[in-house]
Symmetry: D2
C-alpha cells in the first residue's frame, strides 16, 4: 500500500511537515510513504499517484488559500483523470502551514477537501482533540484543526516545525495509512 | 449495516429528498436505511446513531447555511459524544436543498463536512459528473456538486424533488451504503 | 450612527468579547454601540437593527459553525427582511470565540459573511496583521484572522477574554464604526 | 474613480463575463472600468491597481477553486503590498464561471473574499435575488449567488455567456462602481 504525499514548500516548513507525515504513515505495517515535490513532478509520478491507495495533499497557505504552485498541480488533474474519475474512492487527506495558528489555514483545507470530492475521493481528517479538552494531548493539534493537519511555522528556523506539531503530523500520517489499509482490505 | 439519515425539513423538500437517499441506500444488499427526523428526536435515536455504520446528514440551506433546527441537533453532539470521539471512523455524508441551483448550498455542505471532521468521521461525497462533461449523465447532478448531494426545490409542489434530482439522490444513497459496507468489511 | 451588535453567548466569553467590540465602536465620535442578546430578542430590536448603520454579528463556534441559538436569529431574517433586501448596503462584520486558536472559527466567519451577502450587506473585516509579520502588533490578532474577529477563550475564567484579544476587539469595533460613518457620509 | 478588473480566462468565458462587468461599471457616471488580464500583467498594472478605488477579481473555477494562473497573481500580492496593507479600505468584489450552476463556484468566491480580507479590503457582493423569489428578476442571478457574481458557461460557443448572466454581470459591475463612488465620497 503506497501513500503518496504530493506537496510544495516555499521556505521549507511544508517540506519538513511532509516528512513528519510520511514518517507517521511509514510507521504503519504494510504502508509505504512516498514524498512527491510537485514543483519537480516527473511524468512517472502520475503513475505513482494512480497506483497509490491514499494521496495526502500538502502546501503552504498563501494569501488565504493553497499556494499557486500547488494549485498548478491541482489544475493539471482537470483532464481525463477527472472526467473519468480515475482517482475515485482513493483515500485523501490534506495538510497546510502558515505563520499564524488560524491564518486562514482552514480555507486551504476546505479547498483541498472540495478538490478531493471533485475526484470522488474519500476524505479523512484528524482524530486528535488537543488540550485543554483532552488533557492527555498537551501540545497535540494545538491550532485546533479537524478537517486536516495544520501547523504553525516554528520561530526556530533550524527546526521549521515544532516538536508538538511534528508529533501531530506523525499521528496524522499513521491515521491516514491505517484508513487506507482498512479501506483496501474491505474492497 | 445501518445507514442513519438524520434530517430536518421545512416545507417538505428535504424530507422527500431524504427518502430518495434512503431508497438508494436500502437498495444495496446488506444495508438498511433509517430516517430520523431530528425535530422529533427520541432518546433511543442516539443509540441508533451510535450503532450506525454511516450517518448521512440532511437539511435545507437557509440564509446560506444549515437550518437552525438542524444546527440544534449538531450542537447537541458537542458533549461526551464529541470529546470521546464516539463517532470516530463512521462514514459520513451530507445533502441539502434550496430554491436556487447554487444558492450557497456548498456553504452548508462545507459546514457539514467540517462538523463530521470534528467527530473524526470519514467523509464520502458524490461520484457523479453530470452532462455536458459526462454526456451519459443527462440531468444527474445538474447543480454540479461534489462534496455532497444538492437538490433544487421543484416548482412542482406535489413532486417537491424533480426526477433527475431524485435519481441522483438514490445513486448517492447507494454510494454511501457501499462505502459503509466496504469500510466495515475492512475493519 | 448606531452600531448594533446582535450576539449570543454560551459560557460568557462571547458576551465579554462583544462588550470589547462595543467599547471600540463607541470610542469613535458619532457612533453609538448597542448590544443585543438575541436569546432575549424583543420585537423592538428589529426596529433597532433596521435603523442601524452597521450590524456586527457575534457568536461562539460550536461544532465548527455558528451556535444554533444564533442561527435561529439568522433564520428569522429569512422572510420579507431578506426578500425585500431591507438590510441592503448596511455595513456588516462578524466575530467568534472558541477553545482553540483555529478551532474552525473561520468556518463561522465564512458563514456570517455569506449570510451578510445574502442580505446585500457590505462586509468589513480586520485590518490588523499580528506579530511576527507586524512586530509592532505583538499579541494583536494572535490567531491570525482576516475575515472577522477571532478570540480564543481565556484559561482565566474571571477574565474570559485575554487582554490582547480584548484590545484586538476594541480596534475591530472602532474600525467598523469608522467604516459605517464613512459609508453614511458618502450616501 | 477607476474600477480595476484583474482577471484570467481559460477558454474565453471569463473574459466575456469580465467585459460585461466592465460595461456595467463604466455605465455609472464618474466611474471608469479597466480590464487587466493578469496573464499579461505589466509592471505598470501594479500602479493602476494601487490607484483604483475598487478591484473586482475574476477567474474561472477549476477543480473547485480559483484557476492556478489567477492564484499566481494573488500570491504575487503577498509581499510589502500585503504586510503594509496598501490595498486597505479599497472596495473589492469577485466573479467566477464554471460549467455547472453550483460547480463549487462558491468555493472560489469564498477564496477571493478571504483574500480581499487579508488585504483589509471592503467586500461587496450581489444585490439581486432571482426568480422565483423575486418574480421581476426572471433569469437574473439564476445560479442564486450572493457573495459575488457567478455565471454558467453558455452552451453557445459564440456567445460564451448567456444574455441573462450578461445582464446580471452589468448590474453587478454597476453596483460595485456605485459602492466605490459612495465610499470615496465619504472619505
Amino acid at each position: 500500500m503506497q501513500i503518496a504525499i504530493p506537496y510544495v514548500s516555499g521556505s521549507g516548513h511544508t517540506r519538513v511537515l511532509a516528512r513528519h507525515v510520511a514518517d507517521g504513515a511509514a510507521s504503519v505495517a504494510g504502508a509505504k510513504a512516498i514524498l512527491v515535490d510537485v514543483e519537480a513532478l516527473q511524468p512517472s509520478d502520475w503513475d505513482l499517484l494512480a497506483g497509490a491507495g491514499a494521496i495526502i495533499f500538502g502546501c503552504p497557505t498563501y494569501m488565504g488559500s493553497a499556494a499557486a504552485r500547488f494549485k498548478d498541480f491541482m489544475d493539471e488533474t482537470g483532464g481525463d483523470l477527472w472526467t473519468e474519475l480515475r482517482w475515485r474512492d482513493k483515500i485523501a487527506a490534506g495538510f497546510t502551514v502558515a505563520t499564524f495558528p488560524s491564518g486562514d489555514k482552514l480555507s486551504t483545507l476546505m479547498q483541498l477537501s472540495v478538490f478531493a470530492a471533485q475526484h470522488a475521493m474519500i476524505w479523512v481528517g484528524l482524530d486528535e482533540i488537543g488540550a485543554p479538552v483532552n488533557k492527555a494531548n498537551k501540545g497535540i493539534n494545538r491550532d485546533g484543526s479537524s478537517l486536516g493537519l495544520m501547523a504553525t511555522s516554528s520561530r526556530d528556523k533550524t527546526l521549521m516545525i515544532d516538536k508538538d506539531d511534528a508529533e501531530t503530523a506523525r499521528r496524522f500520517g499513521a491515521r491516514i495509512a491505517r484508513a487506507a489499509l482498512r479501506w483496501q482490505a474491505g474492497a
